[in-house]
């Protein structure tokens, strides 16, 4: 049941533009994630795809055929909701069977398929329970089984893990990945959690205010953010305003008052333009020598023990703060030279109020 999906959607609520010509093509068996902060239009996008809300403009094509005129029940999709949305008056079995029952399948055919679905999500034997008698994790498994039972052409998942505690979230993440691969599904997953997006996706689509700011494989989004917004979302918590001195191929050199930083240029930058060098706390390391390329100096202001490593906040000579994760403890008030590895520094155009 390999399916390809292409859509271009605009949605307005009154004067508010929630999706601004959001366009995407999804290949069969692909796992695509919409990643973005709360309110950026992720759920709206899924609801438009499912046919639960009418688009203001645009079209949706499934295997080349337009389906935006179809009511939700004729699109043949499956959907998993954040709050599970299980039918509280129906048993687990009847919940899973729902999509098949409304399609008119005979009772005798339902039972074995329900059993197979519950085995798939590792809930065999719970057919006769009611959703209220299950734990959150079990309920979400039932919701997934209900969506899979209809053999969906497209599986939509709207923050399915955000109501679960950390341990269950990890476990269910694995389950979703397994089911997607095992059943050859085509899935669109919505989350505001970057680790979920990174671990699950074939492709991540970062959304901001209803627009795509960057789309690509997880590693590309993670290592080569194209805007400060994406960089921030991907954990580049340190940012230094610089002026571009030179740009050659991938390598950009920027300078601030007393430091020169070499880094990766993902977007073309002309010498002399204002830019920002960003780096993750995890990538900052203690400099082997007090001076050198990409080395900054400062005073330790704050430390925090994180188990495997030590979180350190350093005040630089410029008054800026730098966060780092170091393998060995340092004392508050001591002077410290830190190296920002050029291959882990990204230099991006300074942009309007992205932060």
């Amino acid at each position: 049941m390999v399916t390809s999906l292409a859509f271009r959607l605009t949605k307005r609520f009154g004067a508010k533009i929630v999706l601004d010509d959001l366009a995407l093509e999804v290949r069969g068996r692909e796992f695509v994630t919409f990643l973005g902060p709360s309110g950026c239009g992720k759920s709206t996008a899924l609801n438009l795809l499912a046919g639960l809300l009418p688009p203001t403009a645009g079209e949706i094509r499934l295997d080349g055929v337009r389906i935006d005129g179809l009511p939700p029940e004729r699109r043949g999709f499956g959907m998993v909701f954040q709050n599970y949305a299980l039918f509280p008056h129906l048993t687990v079995g009847a919940n899973v069977a729902f999509g098949l029952a409304v399609r008119g399948l005979a009772k005798a055919e339902l039972a074995p398929r329900v059993r197979r679905m519950l085995e798939l999500v590792r809930l065999a034997g719970l057919e006769d329970r009611y959703p209220g008698q299950l734990s959150g994790g079990q309920q979400q498994r039932v919701a997934i089984a209900r969506a899979l039972a209809v053999e969906p052409r497209l599986l939509l998942l709207d923050e399915p893990l955000s109501n679960l505690d950390a341990k269950l979230r990890l476990e269910m993440r694995g389950e979703i990945k397994r089911l997607h691969a095992e059943l050859g599904l085509t899935s669109i997953y919505v989350t505001h959690d970057q680790t979920e997006a990174l671990s699950l996706s074939d492709r991540i689509v970062v959304l901001r205010d209803g627009r795509v700011v960057q789309a690509g494989p997880p590693a590309e989004i993670h290592d080569r953010p194209r805007t400060l917004f994406v960089a921030d979302f991907m954990g580049y918590r340190n940012a230094f305003p610089v002026t571009v001195s030179s740009a050659e191929g991938d390598t950009v050199v920027g300078h601030a008052r007393d430091v020169t930083l070499r880094g990766l240029g993902v977007v073309a930058l002309a010498p002399g333009t204002a830019a920002v060098a960003v780096v993750r706390p995890e990538d900052v390391e203690v400099a082997p020598e007090p001076a050198g390329a990409n080395v900054v100096r400062g005073t330790v202001r704050f430390t925090e023990y994180l188990g495997r490593e030590h979180g350190v906040e350093v005040v630089l000579g410029t008054g800026q703060t730098l966060m780092a994760r170091l393998p060995r403890p340092v004392t508050v008030g001591s002077a410290l030279a830190l190296r920002l590895p050029p291959e882990r520094v990204v230099i991006l155009p300074a942009e309007d109020g992205a932060r």
Partner: protein, 272 residues
């Protein structure tokens, strides 16, 4: 000290109230079984024959039939029309919804006589007045809003996500209604149905204004039995009153078994 006095006063009031009620009701019940009752604390002899008399004389079989027809039809119509209306009102936001609801529920708030008389005049002009249909129509005027009023919060508490989940997985609008909305609103339907039933059986003003010879319900018949021309033994009127009280009480007990008054909280403004 003041607290004790206060408690005593409350107790005296409650006891007095109950004694009074028991006294009146008790008197009527005893009287309905009395062969004769003059100037003695209790009747000298008892009989059930006043019930038979009332049954014949006041054509109670016909009156009960009318009462049943009116109450049954009003209840069914109020639920059948009220449920979709409550659903639409619960699911759709539009400007002026608050004031519209208020206007709509006006018949529940104002005394029935104020609109009962113009309503009756109109219905008589169209020759519906005086018939069972007229009584049903008049009773629906306050009962339909009542049904909607009671159903609204029950529908509102059904998450839209449940409807959406049903639609995405293949249910048509009608199937969503039948398989999700109605089962989940069942307590509300029961509550609204029983309230409408009790209120219709107990309604006097509108039924009185609209009923003719063959379309009286029990309350109205009771009124005529008491005040209409012709001497009737008081014992037979009491018997009829007992029948009426028994029916209404039975329905109330039934209603209270199913109705959870705490669920009938109505909010004009919602959405967080």
């Amino acid at each position: 000290m003041r607290g004790r006095l206060w408690r005593l006063a409350v107790w005296l009031f409650v006891v007095g109230f109950v004694l009074n009620l028991v006294g009146i009701v008790g008197h009527v019940v005893v009287s309905s079984f009395a062969r004769r009752w003059f100037a003695t604390p209790v009747p000298s002899a008892f009989t059930t024959e006043w019930y038979a008399y009332a049954w014949r004389e006041f054509q109670l079989d016909q009156v009960l039939m009318v009462t049943l027809t009116v109450a049954g039809t009003v209840t069914a119509a109020a639920l059948l029309l009220g449920f979709p209306a409550a659903y639409l009102l619960a699911r759709h936001e539009f400007r002026g919804k608050g004031p519209l609801l208020l206007l709509f529920f006006l018949p529940l708030l104002v005394p029935q006589m104020t609109y009962g008389i113009p309503l009756a005049t109109t219905l008589y002009r169209y020759r519906i007045g005086g018939t069972v249909a007229g009584v049903i129509a008049a009773n629906l005027v306050p009962m339909l809003p009542l049904a909607i009023f009671v159903l609204l919060p029950f529908v509102e508490q059904i998450s839209v996500n449940l409807e959406w989940a049903a639609r995405v997985h293949g249910a048509t609008r009608l199937q969503v209604f039948r398989r999700v909305i109605v089962p989940l609103a069942l307590p509300g339907l029961l509550t609204a149905g029983l309230l409408v039933l009790v209120n219709t059986v107990a309604n006097f003003e509108l039924t009185f204004l609209l009923s003719g010879a063959g379309s009286q319900t029990l309350v109205v018949a009771l009124y005529y039995a008491v005040f209409a021309a012709g001497m009737r033994p008081i014992y037979s009127v009491d018997a009829m009153a007992v029948i009426y009280m028994t029916i209404v009480l039975a329905m109330l007990v039934l209603a209270l078994r199913f109705v959870r008054p705490t669920q009938m909280v109505f909010r004009l403004d919602r959405r967080d």
